[in-house]
């Protein structure tokens, strides 16, 4: 069965109230065509997990502006004034997580780990309400794994088996999110035949990828 599909078919898997991971760092590495289509589709009450809420007109920021998120789980919202405005108005819940913790929580979700033990955030409000675990007399915060119903991923090249490679800093959270969601939808700039990518160059193995659309 081919993994290559249309954007409409792929977005059938994104429904109201779902948790959606979206790759990208300030919009770089975000699958913009998938975001375009998701805005048009108008799916509501999503929990969005992403590094940041990018800009008003770019990346994850557009789902903030379109009011499709009920909650944003991110490390940074400073580049999108609408996120802060909606948060202060009580119209958007924002959970801020240190970037390295967020990355590792998503990896843990995909890797079947029970959580992560990190020194990051100890002694700050990030630690409030969280369990502190002592290992050899050093303290670490227990942060839980993150998973999603759907991940929207941007790749530079996909082969028909779903193997992915990324370009420069557009890699960021994409390979991690591809491991942590039930359904993984990839927007690939280039699609090549199976066997065209050197197995040593593959960053995300094809088994993680469910659907591919041409970006």
């Amino acid at each position: 069965m081919s993994k290559i599909t249309t954007i409409e078919q792929a977005l059938e898997f994104v429904q109201d109230n779902m948790t959606v991971m979206i790759g990208g760092f300030l919009g770089v590495g975000t699958p913009e065509r998938l975001v375009d289509a998701l805005v048009i589709k108008g799916t509501k009450n999503l929990i969005g997990i992403a590094n940041d809420t990018a800009m008003l007109d770019k990346g994850v920021g557009r789902l903030v502006v379109s009011r499709q998120l009920k909650k944003a789980v991110v490390s940074h919202i400073g580049t999108n004034p609408e996120t802060g405005r909606l948060m202060n108005a009580g119209e958007l819940e924002v959970e801020l997580i240190p970037q390295g913790t967020l990355a590792e929580q998503i990896r843990a979700g995909g890797a079947g780990l029970g959580g992560i033990l990190t020194p990051t955030g100890l002694g700050t409000i990030v630690a409030e309400g969280k369990e502190v675990i002592k290992v050899d007399d050093r303290e670490f915060l227990l942060e839980k794994p993150l998973k999603a119903d759907v991940a929207l991923i941007k790749a530079h090249t996909a082969d028909t088996a779903g193997n992915l490679i990324f370009y420069r800093s557009a890699r960021n959270f994409n390979p991690l999110m591809a491991m942590a969601a039930k359904v993984v939808i990839v927007e690939a700039e280039n699609i090549v035949e199976k066997g065209q990518i050197n197995p040593d160059h593959v960053v995300t193995p094809g088994i993680f990828v469910d659907w591919i659309i041409k970006g």
Partner: protein
């Protein structure tokens, strides 16, 4: 020399040849422009690569930005990775120095730079990981706010980015080392007196026996 240049030039002296360095947005990033000619460092960009080229160097590339979202380029010998690897590098102690700006810093080495409750909440981004993981944490900032209010306090009032994590505070007026006993004034900027530092600093500090002038030109 303006305040920013003083700070950036002094920060640059903290780098040794071959150091892996992560520079925050703003003044910290400027430090890369003032490296001694015999020192070259490897810049880490927490959005996923090593070998960030100093601004104004090579031609900016598609899909390559720094942690501030600015188009940049990558040096020969650079390496790209995902965000988990990026923070494995940071958290794992593989970054020699991180330089960050700050809203407040205090005499216990606490640092607050990610939110002003009710006003401004940009988020911590990678800052909390950087201050907890880098071998040396330098706060580089103007000594006071634009309104002249002190930023070096007895105790931070804003939510912390890290507790007891700062090693050096470098401002346009002076350099403090953060020791277990508190702040130690080790250098003043050219033309700045200890009294001037005292007037602009709320934190308690000890004056080093051989306090000297910042060796910047």
């Amino acid at each position: 020399m303006n305040a920013k240049t003083i700070i950036a030039k002094r920060v640059a002296l903290e780098f040794e040849d071959g150091y892996v360095v992560n520079l925050g947005i703003g003044i910290p990033t400027l430090a890369a422009d003032f490296l001694p000619t015999d020192v070259s460092v490897i810049l880490q960009s927490e959005n996923g690569f090593l070998g960030l080229a100093p601004l104004g160097g090579l031609v900016a590339e598609v899909d390559l930005v720094n942690a501030g979202g600015k188009s940049v380029s990558i040096m020969p010998g650079g390496a790209v990775f995902d965000s988990a690897m990026s923070f494995a590098i940071i958290r794992g102690g593989h970054v020699d120095v991180t330089v960050l700006g700050s809203l407040e810093v205090d005499q216990e080495g606490n640092l607050a730079n990610w939110m002003v409750p009710g006003k401004l909440v940009p988020g911590m981004g990678g800052a909390m990981d950087l201050v907890s993981g880098a071998k040396k944490v330098i706060v580089a900032m103007e000594h006071t706010t634009k309104d002249g209010n002190p930023k070096i306090l007895k105790k931070c009032t804003l939510p912390l980015t890290g507790k007891g994590v700062v090693n050096f505070i470098i401002t346009n007026l002076c350099v403090f080392e953060v020791t277990p006993a508190g702040l130690l004034l080790i250098e003043t900027a050219p033309g700045v007196t200890v009294d001037e530092v005292r007037t602009n600093t709320v934190a308690e500090f000890v004056i080093a026996p051989h306090v000297c002038t910042m060796p910047i030109i």
